[in-house]
């Protein structure tokens, strides 16, 4: 019998700029199905999760979706650190590419969990299911 889902835990990956030393980009590597991995910026104060327009088209192409594409896509078969996470509805956006990531995990992603725990000093995140 399948075990109930309890939590997803992972360390955010700090990427930095060599010249400025900025380490403001902490990303979660989100694996989509068998084919794709994206750097996603946790952005829980944004209502809606989004991905770059390129990533949006990549997903549609890999999964055989034909143009015209809908205004949002339900992305399924997701995992972080090989732990399954719930499907995510995303919209295409220009914003992630400007920050050098492929998407933002918005409030809609985090609100699926009962508790979101973040340890800023280590980047550890634990998402607990209701």
């Amino acid at each position: 019998m399948a075990q109930p889902r309890v939590e997803v835990s992972y360390f955010l990956k700090p990427r930095f700029d060599d010249v400025t030393g900025d380490r403001r980009l902490l990303v979660a590597r989100l694996v989509v199905g068998l084919d794709i991995a994206w750097d996603m910026l946790p952005y829980p104060t944004a209502a809606q999760s989004c991905v770059t327009r390129s990533a949006y088209r990549d997903y549609a192409a890999r999964y055989g979706l034909l143009a015209p594409l809908p205004r949002s896509l339900l992305i399924e078969d997701l995992s972080i650190r090989r732990q399954p996470v719930p499907p995510l509805r995303v919209v295409p956006s220009l914003a992630p590419e400007r920050l050098g990531v492929d998407g933002f995990l918005g409030f809609d992603f985090f609100s699926q969990f009962q508790v979101v725990e973040w340890h800023p000093n280590t980047g550890f995140m634990r998402l607990q299911y209701p």
């Binding site: 992972y10 360390f11 990956k13 700090p14 990427r15 930095f16 700029d17 060599d18 030393g21 380490r23 980009l25 590597r29 694996v31 989509v32 068998l34 084919d35 794709i36 991995a37 994206w38 750097d39 770059t52 390129s54 990533a55 088209r57 990549d58 192409a61 890999r62 650190r81 090989r82 590419e97 050098g100 990531v101 492929d102 280590t122």
Partner: protein, 119 residues
Amino acid sequence: MEQAENNAPVQNGTPRVEEEYDRVIARYYKEWVLYQVTEWDDDDRPVLGYLIAHSPSRSEISKALAKEPRRKPEDPYRPYYSFFARPELRRGETLEEGQERFRKLRAEVLAEINGAAEG
């Protein structure tokens, strides 16, 4: 996609060679990269993989991805990873240590490129 005898995928008639993730970041610093990860460490950080494409433009990465075969459930876990090449701190590493490591590696990689160009 063609496969070489050693099972490495083939690109432009040449078997792809696995490259270290950190070296790819050092070589293509601040470009978008498409990289097929073949080995991960215990921290789920890429270690080795095939460099498929690099470009300042994210849309070029999509064009390269479109040419790659779709993976099947029986295939090994080797996703295509698109990322903007900026160094990544390892767990427990300070920013200063990460910068030091990256600068050494980037200097090595640039020296190799310059050596190859001169040779």
